[in-house]
Point group: C2
Chain length 399, copies 2
């Protein structure tokens, strides 16, 4: 296959760095899409199956959310991209008229082949769920539907078609997401294939490009800095709208941030940089220093379903509301916030709801967690402008 060497214009899109920190790679920017402009750094909340778990688009907006995502893998299986397209596209389907991102679908295919998504990113070795991924070839991946075992195929051309049908603003090239336990040799060959898949993604994207979508290239290469660098140079060289950092990021925070540092100078300087699947509060503080502009993670809504509320300055970033200590606690989650979920319900009531298995408990904590992360991102942007990121980090994190 020949190299993709055309230019692609993204007239409906833009990215402008409005402030650059003097002492680090941290920056504030404006990311423009046909569905609105968001300030960066920002956080993209996960609406996996075209729904943020437990929250409506209205509740997401009430929590001051700017941008969300949905997962192509889940949607291609149900309801199918055909139906979403017939219903007017994903924005209309899920009733979200702000900026929206979809991934290529590849990540779930591969992570379900190797283990869970989090296991992949965090480098945890697992042998669970190996059955769903049937075959990876140069063409793409063959896997079994998680719903009915039906054999399905995903490759760069299919991913571009599906993401076109879904119609999100920001979309992702197809890549292979390698597992932590694979060899350096496998990671290298996989990264090279992801580059070829990047070119195939660009070719397919360009064929139907109408200005409504911006395509991100994905930096792969696992924990190997030289591979990461090659991949970053590839992404910067091609006419992608944005840069995403994906794949296995190692088994420790140091390894993860080391990867960001290794590629920092190679990332295209005028494109937005997205960090795929990462988003603890501490990750935000560390990663923005390497120029990361957007994050996504299921954490805020997932931990809510385990009764965990994000609290500024709390140990491990959160409190566990199921703990008996909250049984008679009349205080709200955070009286200083501008959201009824955070200010109007006592911890005792939320504790009761969670113990009773009442869905309202998950709804309250989910919306609170989303609002906390949005507040974090607003404060991070301000702190970058004011050069006070380290002071803000100390407010938020209890080290």
């Amino acid at each position: 296959m020949s190299e993709f060497n055309k230019n692609i214009e993204y007239p409906g899109f833009g990215f402008e760095v409005t402030h650059q920190d003097e002492n680090s790679g941290a920056r504030v920017g404006k990311l423009s899409t046909p569905h609105g402009v968001i300030e960066t750094p920002n956080y993209i909340f996960c609406g996996t199956k075209a729904s943020i778990k437990n929250l409506s688009p209205y509740q997401m907006k009430e929590a001051q959310t700017d941008i969300i995502l949905a997962n192509t893998y889940h949607l291609m299986i149900q309801p199918t991209a055909d139906i979403v397209e017939k219903m007017g596209g994903l924005h209309k389907f899920m009733n979200w008229n702000g900026p929206l991102l979809t991934d290529s679908g590849g990540f779930q295919v591969f992570s379900m082949g190797h283990g869970t998504c989090a296991d992949e990113i965090k480098g945890r070795n697992t042998t669970a769920k190996k059955e769903s991924l049937l075959k990876i070839t140069e063409d793409g991946a063959v896997f079994k539907s998680y719903r009915d075992g039906q054999k399905l195929k995903l490759n760069p051309e299919i991913s571009m078609k599906l993401q076109r049908q879904l119609g999100a603003d920001l979309i992702m090239q197809m890549d292979e997401c390698t597992a932590y336990q694979v060899t350096r040799d496998y990671t290298a060959r996989s990264m090279e294939m992801s580059m070829r898949w990047g070119d195939r993604s660009l070719t397919a994207f360009d064929e139907t490009h109408d200005g409504s979508q911006g395509l991100y290239g994905i930096v792969q290469g696992g924990i190997y800095h030289d591979l990461r660098k090659t991949s970053a140079e590839y992404v910067a060289d091609r006419p992608f709208f944005g840069t995403a950092v994906g794949g296995c990021l190692g088994g420790s925070d140091e390894e993860m941030y080391g990867i960001l540092e290794a590629i920092q100078s190679l990332n295209h300087p005028t494109r937005p940089i997205h960090f795929l699947g990462i988003g603890r509060i501490k990750d935000v503080f560390e990663s923005v220093k390497y120029g990361i502009d957007t994050f996504d993670c299921v954490m805020p809504t997932r931990i809510a379903r385990h009764g965990m509320a994000l609290i500024k300055g709390a140990k491990n970033e959160r409190i566990n509301l199921i703990n008996t200590r909250y049984k008679e606690d009349p205080e709200p989650l955070d009286a200083s916030m501008d959201l009824p979920c955070s200010t109007e319900y006592s911890k005792a009531y939320i504790h009761h709801l969670l113990k009773a298995g009442e869905m309202l408990g998950y709804q309250i904590v989910s919306q609170h967690n989303v609002a906390v992360i949005n507040q974090l991102m607003r404060e991070v942007r301000e702190a970058i402008k004011e050069g006070s990121l380290e002071a803000l980090r100390k407010e938020w994190l209890c080290d």
Copy 2:
């Protein structure tokens, strides 16, 4: 035990019939409580464990809800009435500042002893769940906690104490709710005991009465009209604030409405009448003719959790959104309504959410169903005023 023959004043409460239908017992009224005035006929939504399933108080208000209830039985077990009282009472605990009702707790104790609540009311014979009710004596009932098997007791004095601690506006006397399969003789003896329990409830209520709560007496007597009449006369004779119709109502609609007809002339004419646990749309149309002012039923939110949306004029009052026919249906639940849940999401999207097990699906359908019932009640009130109840019934019900 001697007869209760004091008067009780309810200064913070009131009930005024503002319009009486000429051709039936249907009436429009104003029911005043310390937490607000509601127009009747009205519908009391069930927040069993101090939460309407899947909906926040804000979403209930957005759906134009006037009044809700919680169940003493569930709350005495968890979080306990002591904790609710410490947290400032049920209104504050659940963040609902409108009118609120609690039941005595007896209904669940007895129905869990005999079968499900719905089985009792509808007269379905069942042998399930007989284990939890351990003993019924003149004093009260001993039963096992559904949470941990702990032995608990409920009697009129305990029920009044618990309901006082919870602090709802409208509260219920303790009664025995008999099963469909019991003999006439058992029903008669039970009804007589419920009358004695009514007097004990009044005595206990009066001891701590501070004007913040209005006590309802409950008409029992099963399917036997003569017993029902004796019970209705008892309730009308005692200084209750309101009248409630409870217990087994037979196995058919005719039997149920026949009971309402039998007691209609005996109910106290200037007190509000509540129909316990009943609330299909057809029940509302039939029952208001016998002077019923308020209804309560878990139906609107329970059927939502099975993917059923209430639709004006639909067969059996509802549609099943899980049905494949809605897979590509771009229409909202009801474009004529004033609620985003009813107007902004396509049936195709809700179908997808329900199939995917996304809680947002239940949230959308639950709020829609509550809004539909509130719209029904507004229209019923208007129709009674205009003498057009039968025409409205034809709009709502597909016979």
